[in-house]
Symmetry: C2
Subunit: 131 residues, 2 copies
């Protein structure tokens, strides 16, 4: 009887080195290094965090009650205009670090703990020296 | 007898909100958010990682025997010239993610696991929603 094995290929967020680069990228220790495509995706996530104002916004949201904050409370502390703050928040939402929910006239932002956790795991795993 | 307590002030890499911003930056939950100066330092570290080629270099070094690699093995896989690779490696060294040691004609790079670990802790702690 034929087994029906569903093609649950590990479409990991961070694929390993592409086949064509396998030769060059499997070092003596045998652990494949980050492939080109995965590196682009990962760099984009770090780029979203590579701005002091965005880090402060993320930190302020994380420090709020239930890791949530109203945009109305995020503008003044940074001394930036509302459009600039909204621009930075959008980048954090697009990168998956925050979610946005409209309630009445205000938008509320919440931290996505898994997104930060995943990135932390990548730092200490694939980019670190953990084996 | 006077105790000699050395001034081991916690000159943390990530100082909390500056006094002058304490009013605005201590949210209801009482956890101070990231201060302006700390945010600049942290953003610089993320910026060093916000490039696909640098991530691949870091990953290749991490995957090497003893999390170390000779610059001679890092140039070809990325299809970049030696000056470009050296430039990227310098940024990673300056940001504290790699160390560089000259042995004979070649430079060898090693991963600094603590630097990646610290950043991971910041991601899941101060920037995440851990309390």
């Amino acid at each position: 009887m034929a087994e029906t094995i569903s093609p649950t290929a590990p479409t990991a967020a961070l694929p390993m080195a592409e086949p064509e680069s396998a030769e060059c990228c499997v070092p003596p220790a045998g652990r494949p290094s980050l492939g080109a495509e995965a590196a682009v995706a990962l760099a984009a996530r770090f780029k979203a965090l590579a701005d002091p104002n965005r880090l402060r916004l993320l930190s302020m949201v994380a420090a709020g009650e239930d890791a949530e904050a109203c945009v109305c409370d995020l503008t003044e502390p940074l001394g930036l205009g509302q459009p600039t703050v909204s621009h930075h928040l959008k980048i954090l939402v697009d990168a998956g670090f925050l979610t946005r929910e409209k309630r009445g006239v205000w938008a509320y932002y919440s931290v996505v703990p898994e997104a930060l956790g995943d990135l932390a795991t990548t730092l200490t795993g694939q980019l670190g020296s953990a084996r």
